[in-house]
Symmetry: D2
Subunit: 434 residues, 4 copies
């Protein structure tokens, strides 16, 4: 069997215009439950008209009534599965019994206890700057790792990352390799069903060398090239000249004695931890939560949008590259430690699919899939959604814009997921009529 | 960055003819180390001639000397990375200091403490039969889950599995869905670098219904078919007639009122936990360790070969299907609980790539990859290795046998990895000259 | 630009219950036109009610009127393109002016002259057997090659084919290689919009040797296997023992001295020529018209269904294989000349997509595409159409049947198109309620 | 069977430093033969030392002797196939008997008559400018179409192309659609084994409208997007403002009333006809010969390199696009007629794989394949060859340059072949040490 019931993976997407401000049942709630040992978090959005209640929870649309503090809600999806919530609000906390019945196993419903707390509107606090020195580096993007720091939306983090092999700016090994990351950072107020906004303000190299290798990834080689490359694969050390802004091989081969690559620092990994129903991915993987995307425009000035699946978002990042060609063909880019400064924000109650990136001149969707072909479809689909949601384009309009303005790069082939990015220039978007 | 240094993932593959029987340094050792908080296990194989030592460890070939109980070993690979082991044997335990130096960061070697215990030859004990009633079901194929039972090679386990949604033979939900599994079983004497052999003796349905659905997987649909299928996806309950050996839809649609499928029970998931350097995969994933392969010939009478990456192998299984077409197109097959009886064995010091299956009439390699195309390459490559290693065929002979005898099925398209199996009939193999 | 307007490629699919028997405008017509030097053939189906006319032509649905012998028809598609037919019937021939107007270039319609002759119901003549000795072998599946023989539906052809390299049963080269084929055979009464039915009655080897090689196809090799196979690729001659029914390497390598493959003759190529708007494909290609499918069940007893795109269907076949594993991994199977006996028939006015095959126990759809992944989607889509059209299944029912009964083989990887076949057992289909 | 013997497809690649200037057997010859009705052309390169001869022909390396005018040459490849040439030179013409023997069918060699004429060094004539008005447009890239004009290397052609649907600058239909092309142009002195260089000097729009549509290609759509796009696909007319340099929808939808695309004219199709052993491809296909590549940088200022397979190269081009996003997602770009000015040149005796493009700032390899994944491999392989041949890089150096400098675009997904281009900046190449 492939997948859990889809409904368990869906997050509410309602766009209620009011937030809970009084101790009423109406509003946005963060609901938590224990599902046979697994803690699950969902957004519960409720609206009230007289004694009528409507709402969304776990992707279901509910209808019901409220009588004083006591409410009853019921939902049935197209597949015939039902969900029933019976509970009450007391002292600002909502408690309910959730009865889930699968259409193909009606005799044995599952009954869960739910406890929910109000999701407050995002506070507009004075932005703070946090100097953070990491002492532990995680190799799983897990909700089980304890947050290393709690910050507010608007705040700035200034910290460092070790390289993909776990070596820090002093050249000292700090962790097993495989992209050990700095974090998780807990962002106050970020809730499942929100979007985490990460603006990379500064990305500075903090040592003068990087490691890489001279192999080519499997996805890049047909059989002729595989035979040509059969004897390569050794480590290559690069010298990083931070003054000149260039990288050169430390011990260059004959034809590379003058070969010079401009430095263009980037973060290979950035993510908001996926939901607890999913096994925590390793730091070499990627998905809708972000992860090891290895896209060479996730650098200074870029903004990354990530879907939030857990309270606090749980932001991780690492795997700095001093420079990287499209595709990260060597498996390793110019891997190095970094000095990182980024600002976080939250867009409440907005749902996105795969990670999105925005640069000075472009919006960029990203497809991640088991083949470049699948990643290409994913990037196109997500940009179509983006144009539909944020620019209100119809399917015909979407096709016309994509046909004339799409710019596709293959961003990554060296990880388990291949990546394709689809860019649309902001200048072009500026000619759309909203 | 993609991957950890490859060498960290390699297991020794030497085929020494003698096992450690006296407290000597020569022999096979299970070495363990703590790598910045991550426990790692490797096989250390050593041979002694006079005061000369040779051996394999972590994929490196070592040379060195021994002086009394004290030894020194050194290895250098083609990439210029080096590894140095200095230590002694006392009281049947080997302790050493391991100094690893990367060629591209020579100034900062990593120093680890290693402790090793002898790998004894497999004991030939009287096979035992274990009745095991599971009380917990795991959704990660992790070394962190405590073994539920310890068994010996040759032993038989008789137990049950819940269905992919976590529901048991009584129809009672026991776990969050996503293929919760029975296990892990610790197999005494199974060591990293061995092969775990699992012979499925009996696979019996223990309830009279299964759940499935009427959707089609993304990988099966071009755009025309996606539009045709846009309104399906609901749960479908199947009635299992264990006497007649057939399955029929419980509430059949108009043209399926007589539609009948023969029961052919199988296990969707079976695995020996992957190494500790890797994030423990969820029970919906698959890989070289096995996992959610969803191959419809992993049923009664089949033997599954899995590579061992941890002491005790850590066998998990679950996700029983009453029947399944090739590809598991609905994402769910006929998901049901099972009564399982299987026998385990160990092939010491043999290395295989992806999981292999053997049935009464065929040997079967399995490719798992992000696309059917990649899975096809994987299955072909692994069968080529199999024919080379076990049948001693040359590349030319391999091509001739595959060209005339290959039978390829698409085994799975509904999981993250697609699966392709390559079968060669044993009758055909019987005409090879070894 | 990719494609011609899709409408030019569509054939009418109406299922009128009456055929033209009197010199009336109502009925089925074979229309021909000259499109700037390219002859095009389409089916024109017309129905009359009083002075009202309706019909289909070039995928358009027409409406109009008839006044004596003079008629006028008009069609407009969803894209706003229009087509207008004005003409008359005289002496059993329909002549018309066809005015096509593209919605995006209305100022410049295209005007064509059309001439049409009635499509008579298929005659039920006494089946004949034709002994045919080929003297020319074609390497393009072209309408420009003159038919070598005209036959009727129900007739049997007995003839021979040369091997893929152009060598005949005497070992004499007769053509440049690349699957030179026997044909084309003109089947009287076969019209665009029909299906050609080819039943392979006998496939007999007519020499005692075949040629092959010991390479592996690009699609089968990952980089490890490419390196392993880097030095193979030579020709391998096989001995065919027609009495024993076996093939063995003529000069076997060490481990293949007893290696024996059962003979299972098949035709690698069979096709009904594609429409004239398309460049005639080479005999190594494949597509909706059939061609070089290299599916190892197109052998004795199999029936192949091919869409008809030209008057007379223009049947070609060749590329006999004495035996072939799935995928034809060597690029060459056991290539040999053949003695072929087949019977042809026509299903009038029925439209199918890709080629279909029927054997004693199964119906088989075939996907052909640029990757195995795409071929997999194609095979699934065509089987879904087959189950919908011939078994009247709903989308939900299709998914349930495919999920429980699909059997997928990878049929071919060595040609430009990969091939995947999807089989459903007739025993399973017999439990469907029509 | 897939392919003809590979050797038939190979062209000689020797790099002799001298050209035939005296009536000697030594030098470069254009050999022609008739292979069972198919004319074939190959380059025959011969060197003489005393009475010893060595040479290359059909990919074989020959050795032999010459005695007066009479010579004898023999070659044997790794597969054991042999080729023997026996003949003489008289009156500046070489005539020989060619005896080809396949290792797997030695009893039946094929004997051919060969006639060869000297390949003269390219003449350096005064470049001419040709004004050419096309009257016929071809839909097959065939050697059978009579050249419309003969030109010399260095000459410039000024002509026009019709749009992909066959409509000219007056809006008048001139051909059936599917990329009818202008040409073929015969380039004097261009020989099999050379490279044709096409420099696009000017690409000017010659009408103020283009046609396109609002569909999305199959390769761009996952199932969600296919459902979203299920009702689109109509023709869209664009207005081309040649003064402002912009394109806008002629009848814009609500949100596209101000939508504006910069004009960037390009040629979708450009090719040198493939060899005669291959079926002539339709004008919608692509391959090593070029063809319908639909790469949006094949515009003004770009240089295209195409392998020559026939005497005179036989240059075709057409399918002008006023603008096109990456991938040509609509299947149609902004299809329009063009005023084209281009200069041709020839690089003698150099062999390339797939088409290559050079722009002001980059060199660009192109992969064409049945999937984006395969096209990606192809582009990488061809760039590796380019860096090896023209920049003398070792495999290790190639990997380092690609890993740090590769820029990949998906150029085309709407044709049978997908296209991926790999760009390396000339600034980066300038730091290589030759």
């Amino acid at each position: 069997m492939t997948r859990m019931k889809l409904t368990l993976c869906l997050l509410a997407s309602a766009t209620l215009s009011t937030f809970a401000q009084t101790p009423s049942v109406a509003g946005h709630w963060l609901a938590s439950t224990d599902y046979f040992g697994t803690p699950l978090y969902y957004r519960l959005n409720l609206e009230q008209t007289g004694d009528k209640l409507t709402g969304t929870y776990r992707g279901y649309k509910f209808e019901g009534t409220i009588n004083g503090d006591n409410f009853h809600l019921f939902a049935k999806d197209e597949q015939g599965n039902t969900d029933e919530l019976t509970g009450a609000v007391a002292n600002g906390t909502l408690q309910a019994t959730d009865t889930e019945t699968d259409s193909d196993n009606k005799a044995h419903p599952v009954t869960l206890k739910i406890k929910a707390t109000p999701i407050a509107p995002l506070a507009h606090l004075t932005p703070q700057r946090h100097e953070f020195t990491p002492t532990v580096f995680y190799r799983q993007i897990s909700t089980l790792n304890k947050p290393v720091l709690t910050i507010n939306p608007g705040d700035t983090i200034h910290t460092t990352t070790v390289d993909a092999g776990g070596t820090d700016f002093n050249g000292v090994k700090r962790s097993l390799g495989g992209n050990p990351e700095t974090g998780p950072f807990f962002v106050t107020g970020a809730m499942p069903g929100d979007v985490l906004v990460v603006h990379i303000k500064k990305l500075t190299l903090n040592r003068d060398w990087a490691i890489s290798d001279d192999g080519l990834d499997e996805r890049a080689m047909n059989s002729d090239l595989a035979v040509k490359m059969k004897d390569v694969g050794k480590g290559i050390r690069w010298h990083l000249d931070r003054t000149a802004g260039t990288a050169t091989p430390a011990d260059p081969a004959e034809h590379l004695k003058r070969y010079t690559v401009p430095l263009k620092p980037m973060l290979g990994c950035i993510s908001a931890a996926p939901g607890t129903a999913q096994a925590p991915p390793g730091s070499g993987d990627s998905g809708g939560y972000g992860g090891n995307m290895d896209f060479n425009e996730v650098g200074e000035g870029a903004t990354v949008y990530l879907r939030v699946s857990n309270p606090g978002a749980l932001l991780y990042f690492g795997d700095g590259h001093a420079a990287q060609g499209d595709g990260e063909l060597n498996g390793n880019a110019l891997e190095t430690s970094m000095d990182v400064e980024l600002t976080v924000d939250v867009i409440p109650n907005k749902r996105i699919g795969d990670p999105r990136v925005e640069t000075a001149n472009e919006i960029i969707s990203m497809g991640l899939g088991g083949s470049i072909d699948d990643a290409f479809k994913g990037a196109t689909n997500d940009m179509a959604n983006w144009l539909e949601e944020d620019y209100k384009l119809t399917p015909s309009e979407i096709a016309q814009v994509l046909g004339t303005s799409a710019e596709y790069h293959v961003s990554e082939v060296a990880d388990r997921n291949a990546g394709v990015v689809l860019k649309i220039s902001k200048a072009r978007l500026a000619t759309l009529t909203k």
